[in-house]
């Protein structure tokens, strides 16, 4: 029933069932935002998303704020229940487990997250040691004090946190050190998949470079997969094998990092790549103007980029584009790219 909405040639992960480490199929999340019982108003935060992440692969997720990135990762980490669709993790279907029960589920330890702001995501009354050992106690069933102490100093060494800082509280640590504590907590249970929500956006460039090197190093040593959410495309390019570009609840382009940065095809991706500031380049002439369309009860037939897209044509108002493969690992959802008979009206 879920495959009916999928374009058969569009996605290698279309066969029902799990592929790789994480498979997301036809995932929807609608939030009710008022209206009447007969005409409910619903915000389509995630609208029919499909993708998969292989073992040891790192995938970037980019898109502007409000496009549904955070909702998508909350669905995957099972902090929110999806409206429709399946999430397979490690060959097991985890989407039917309610978010209330998932916090005690054995799968929780395999799927961990590093949060955006290292200051806000640490308990101010927990020392670094408490924070790092909390998941070991709750999910890892470790009770022995000496074992906890050994594991904490092992983790601290792994993330490059001097072990004399373990008894300190968050306010006694610098930004980079807090980021390391957050990472140590996330990898404490040897997860298979680490979800990183803008892990460096609150850090200075000097520290950002250190943390990026640390993340690349940890991935190699521990063999984890990453789902890396960011709006800094320069950072995504450095750390990711594949990039998903999201716009208003839909994935509009998927490709290898180098393809996305050098041969982006979707008008939105092109605008995104163009807008990256770089040294000594000219101020940007913007491809996208206007404001995004409302995500509340969007017309299912109209492409979400209509109104901002420089290439929009008649077909974009009548037919929502689906992801279509244009190269073995490169999928685009845009008529302008995939329809040879397409003419833009602007």
């Amino acid at each position: 029933m879920t495959t009916s909405t999928l374009d058969s040639q569009s996605f290698s992960a279309n066969a029902p069932g799990p592929q790789g480490l994480l498979t997301v199929q036809n995932l929807h999340k609608l939030f009710p935002v008022g209206g009447t019982p007969t005409h409910p108003k619903q915000l389509h935060a995630v609208d029919g998303v499909n993708f998969s992440i292989g073992e040891g692969e790192s995938v970037g997720l980019v898109g502007e704020s409000g496009c549904g990135k955070s909702t998508l990762i909350r669905l995957i980490t099972r902090l929110l229940d999806p409206t429709d669709g399946q999430i397979w993790f490690n060959q097991e279907l985890i989407s039917p487990i309610s978010s209330r029960h998932f916090s005690q589920h054995p799968m929780r330890s395999q799927l961990q997250m590093v949060f955006q702001d290292p200051t806000d995501s640490l308990n101010p009354r927990y020392t670094a040691f408490d924070t790092i050992t909390e998941p070991l106690k709750r999910l890892g069933n470790m009770r022995d004090r000496q074992a906890l102490r050994d594991r904490a100093s092992e983790l601290a060494e792994l993330v490059g946190l001097p072990s004399e800082l373990l008894p300190r509280f968050p306010h006694q640590l610098s930004g980079g050190q807090k980021a390391r504590v957050g990472i140590a907590r996330a990898i404490a249970l040897n997860p298979k998949l680490l979800i990183l929500d803008e892990p460096t956006s609150a850090l200075d460039v000097s520290v950002q470079a250190i943390i990026l090197h640390l993340l690349a190093d940890l991935k190699q040593r521990l063999g984890m997969s990453y789902l890396f959410v960011s709006h800094d495309l320069n950072v995504v390019r450095l750390l990711c094998d594949r990039v998903l570009v999201m716009y208003l609840g839909k994935i509009v382009e998927v490709g290898t990092a180098s393809e996305i940065f050098t041969q982006a095809r979707h008008p939105y991706t092109q605008a995104l790549v163009d807008a990256i500031p770089s040294f000594e380049s000219k101020p940007k002439t913007l491809a996208l103007t206007g404001e995004p369309r409302s995500p509340i009860n969007p017309d299912p037939q109209v492409c979400r980029l209509v109104g901002r897209c420089p290439q929009a044509g008649d077909r974009c108002h009548q037919d929502m584009p689906e992801l279509v493969a244009i190269a073995p690992k490169h999928h685009v959802a845009c008529h302008w790219v995939t329809d040879p008979a397409f003419t833009s009206t602007t």
């Binding site: 502007e64 470079a209 950072v235 500031p277 770089s278 040294f279 000219k282 206007g290």
Partner: protein, 339 residues
């Protein structure tokens, strides 16, 4: 024409754990129509400087030395550090205005955004009551807010971050100020919105010959929109030069390291070099003359002896370093010192 000229500005904060020397001998100038970028890590004193100029420094802060001459029209000159609060109130919002870092906390949450713009106009613009609303709508349109009529009646919480930021800009530019201080105007915005906001700022600064001080930690952004860049580290100006010169031939080791640490489209992972170490504790009584010395790989004994070497390489390139990168490390003084 020089709009703002800061000389030798020093600011200290008195705290329970000691005196924090937040700014020391900061000097730079901004001309009409020019955009000067102030870059540096957090904690380097960028925002303290902005607050000092606006006269809204925290009460624990004290200006211990220096002048900040502000001449909005070439006739009168005010020293912003000594101007009485009464006069400052007539200047702020009119000749001198500021865009704050976080628009959501800077805007009044319980007042419609259109009314907030009218408040500024009512104070400074000398417009008849009937002209206030049309002018406010005009301002909303000038910062590319779609459908200004409708947004006029919105509260800040109803608007996206990008729109709030543009409301802040409209507020700051309501009376065509001569000097705009933009403190991280685009943090928290997406790259596409960031480009829109920066383009609006740039256009308006050209139109009104407005001098702009752009405070940012994003070196790449500064390089795109600024004519000149001042690099700050731990309360010191370490280098200041025209943008092109600064990026092609940085002289201070810190500038070079900042450039190397910034991810860029053509840079691979191996080219991304972190800056090791932290900013020194500014409360310390034994701060070295060069506050970068502990993180610097060109540090020699001469660096530890006061005063700090400050010099102009040419008319518009300033650097505060004994061993700038255009000279080989073994200068005669250094060899004498080490011998």
């Amino acid at each position: 024409m020089t709009i703002l000229s800061i000389r030798d500005l020093s600011v200290e904060f008195r705290t329970r754990s000691g005196v924090v020397k937040a700014l020391e001998h900061v000097s730079f100038a901004v001309n009409a129509g020019e955009t000067v970028g102030i870059v540096g890590e957090s904690g380097s004193g960028k925002s303290v400087m902005a607050f000092t100029l606006m006269g809204i420094l925290d009460r624990a802060g004290e200006v211990t030395a220096g002048t900040a001459h502000f001449s909005p029209n070439g006739e009168e000159t005010y020293d912003l550090l000594k101007t009485p609060e009464k006069v400052l109130r007539t200047l702020r919002g009119k000749e001198l205005s500021m865009i704050f870092q976080n628009p959501r906390t800077a805007l009044n949450p319980i007042r419609r955004v259109g009314k907030q713009i009218e408040d500024v106009l009512r104070c400074h613009a000398n417009l008849p009551q009937t002209q206030l609303k049309p002018r406010a709508l005009e301002l909303l349109a000038s910062v590319r807010i779609p459908d200004p009529e409708q947004r006029y009646g919105a509260y800040p919480y109803e608007l996206s971050g990008g729109l709030c930021q543009r409301i802040m800009i409209a507020l700051a530019l309501a009376c065509s100020p001569k000097l705009l201080i933009a403190d991280e105007p685009t943090t928290g915005l997406d790259v596409t919105t960031q480009a829109t906001v920066m383009n609006v700022l740039r256009e308006l600064s050209v139109q009104h010959q407005m001098a702009t001080v752009l405070i940012t930690h994003d070196l790449a952004l500064a390089s795109e929109y600024c004519d000149r860049i001042v690099v700050m580290h731990a309360g010191h100006v370490v280098e200041s030069a025209p943008t092109h010169q600064l990026f092609t031939s940085p002289l201070h080791p810190y500038t070079a390291k900042l450039i190397a640490a910034t991810p860029e489209p053509h840079k691979g992972f191996a080219d991304l070099l972190p800056i090791l170490g932290n900013l020194p504790d500014l409360r310390s009584l034994t701060l070295p003359p060069c506050r970068f010395s502990a993180r610097c790989d060109r540090h020699t004994e001469v660096c530890d002896q006061p005063p700090l070497q400050r010099g102009w390489i040419n008319d518009d390139h300033f650097v505060a370093c004994w061993h700038p990168l255009d000279k080989p490390l073994s200068t005669p003084e250094a060899t004498v010192q080490s011998a």
